[in-house]
Amino acid sequence: MQNHVGIERSREAQQAQTVKIRPRWHMTVLHIVYYFIMVAFLVFYMLPFWGTVMTSFKTNSEVMTSTPITPPTEWTLEGYASAMEELGMPLMTSLVVTIFGAAGSVFLGSVCAYALSKWRFKLNNVFFIALVAATYLPFQAILIPLLQTINALNLYDNVWGLVLVHSVFGMPMCTVMMRGYYADVPDALIRQAMIDGNGMWAIYRKIVLPNTMIATITTFVFQCTSIWNEMLFALVLGGYDSKPATIALNELAGTMAAEFNVQMAGSLILALPVLVLYIFMGKYLISGQMSGAVTAS
């Protein structure tokens, strides 16, 4: 009985509140202001993108005579063709550096994360703190010694030099990202796998990796994006023959000052792989698959 009365009262109280809120004139004004700000931001962000797309499909002469946001009167791919001439090789370089660099850093990070989350050893925590600190390291601070090292290894102006550097410097971030996922693998599973006759590495291969595919994919996508977009190492270590696409695009802007259609086409070409990656990998990044492992209670 009492409960019932309680519910009634709270419903009344709720109604009273909504009634109170509605007529307040300044709330309506606030809403209008919110929408205005949101629309302003939308335009602010989307307009350059719109301009980029429109310009990339124009002929060079039309670029000169029209505003960037008007659609082309005559749609053409000539900007894309010229851009590809300049970006062809660098895109290949970027592709190789991205795939192998991301794979390398994810592999190293994964092994580190596994050891740190599932095996107790001395200085375990010290090691982890050092790794976290490393993710905050500003790369320009170590750029000169790094360049000297890469030179000494005879890897300057070489794709594999970039792959090596990205693997190593991406590793701390990958470790931090994956450690969280690996910590969620129940210890009972690891123990059970030991009882079933498996050593540390067999457990990693047969139990931990298959149950944390999402962690691997997420981290891999993240690494791909950051390596693909990276410029500092690319500029300093890439040299001439193996300069990645980010650098080539920058040069495109520098050398052909007036050809905006080519520059815009180049920008879009460079942005495309990252967009595609997110669209196709998106579904893997959503759901978990750890259920059913241990006692459901």
Partner: protein, 370 residues
């Protein structure tokens, strides 16, 4: 197949500040079904994990047969065989099924690791799945199973192997009553057939009584008593053991040992019992003092000429017997009346079976009678 010998094993989770197990000594004979029994938190799982090699004690040794498995002294590890080389099969309290594998794969995983022949593996998995009635689930993943089904898969996964030792940590905890009885029976049968040394952890005294060759009853990291179920039930060496085994629980009375005309008598407020001749010698030193008297519900008989007057409070029918709750003086006591008819009278006379009296020292709670 091997005996398990544990010597002076101490375990601490906080580097010796406190001990979960304190100088445990235990031998499990080859082929024996040994049950670690005790209330939750007494250290049963901890002891089992040490045997498995998943946990290192701070002191002590563990042998499988002649083979030294663990040797630690003063926190220094001298010898240690890692769990994957101990050839044990284990069921964890938390099941620990591999979520990425089907039931069949879960069950065959250990055998595949040992590189057993394919047909042999399939044959064993199929037989065991049938025995545990999970043969229709072989292609499912753990996430698609109920709690009871998961538990049976975990059990089956251990039983398909051919290990030196079985370690089972509360493997029937999540099954409903009917299934539990059935799986309990199957498990005991399989163990007897295979003759593999088994340690079984449970807090359920019925499971322990029905399955064990050897019960190790623990409390707060100490072994209170070990022996066959019969020994523990009929000769509990302390009040804790007497109270832990048997349902309903043993009835305990505080009685005074008094000497009347040269004979010893046990005196309570509302009754007095003569001391049986076998107990006279051991009760002599307690003359004039209090002792605790334990009588199991089934050892209290309703008779015409009983010496203990009792008033019936309530009656629970069990089908073939009745649990009669009676008041004796201030105390409520249970009587197991093994008749199909409930006693009709409101006040009864009870006489205890004189051969089944358990006497305990009130200060040490240790058994007095031989």
């Amino acid at each position: 197949m091997a005996a398990i010998t544990i010597k002076d094993m101490s375990v601490s989770y906080n580097k010796g500040k406190s001990y979960v197990l304190d100088k445990l000594n235990l031998t499990v004979q080859d082929g024996e079904f040994c049950v670690f029994l005790g209330p939750s938190g007494c250290g049963k799982s901890t002891a089992m994990h040490c045997v498995a090699g998943l946990l290192e004690p701070v002191d002590g040794t563990i042998h499988f047969g002649e083979e030294l498995m663990t040797e630690v002294s003063g926190g220094k590890k001298k010898n240690f065989v890692p769990p994957q080389e101990r050839n044990i099969a284990m069921v964890f309290q938390e099941y620990a099924l591999y979520p990425n594998m089907t039931v069949r794969k879960n069950m065959s995983f250990a055998l595949e690791t040992k590189k057993a022949p394919k047909e042999e593996i399939n044959k064993r998995v199929d037989t065991m799945a049938k025995m545990l009635s999970i043969d229709h689930l072989l292609d499912r993943r753990p996430a698609e199973l109920s709690g009871g089904q998961r538990q049976r898969v975990a059990l089956g996964r251990a039983l398909v192997r051919d290990p030196q030792v079985f370690l089972l940590d509360e493997p029937l905890g999540n099954l409903d009553a009917k299934l539990r009885d059935q799986v309990r029976y199957e498990l005991k049968k399989i163990q007897t057939q295979l003759g593999i040394t088994t340690i079984y952890v449970t807090h359920d005294q019925t499971e322990a009584m029905t399955m064990a060759d050897h019960i190790v009853l623990m409390k707060d990291g100490h072994i209170m008593q070990e022996g066959t179920p019969n020994e523990l039930y009929n000769h509990p060496n302390c009040e804790f053991v007497a109270g832990f085994l048997g349902t309903p629980q043993i009835n305990l009375f505080t009685v005074r040992v008094t000497e009347v005309n040269g004979a010893l008598v046990l005196n309570a407020d509302s009754f007095s019992l003569p001391v049986p001749v076998e107990l006279v010698a051991c009760l002599k030193p307690y003359a004039g003092k209090d002792v605790h008297l334990g009588i199991r519900p089934s050892d209290l008989l309703i008779t015409e000429d009983g010496l203990i007057p009792a008033a019936v409070e309530s009656i629970e029918p069990l089908g073939d017997a009745h649990l009669v709750y009676v008041r004796i003086g201030e105390q409520v006591v249970v009587v197991k009346h093994a008749e199909e008819e409930a006693p009709a009278a409101k006040s009864l006379k009870l006489s205890p079976n004189p051969a089944k009296l358990h006497l305990f020292d009130p200060s040490t709670e240790k058994r007095i009678n031989p």
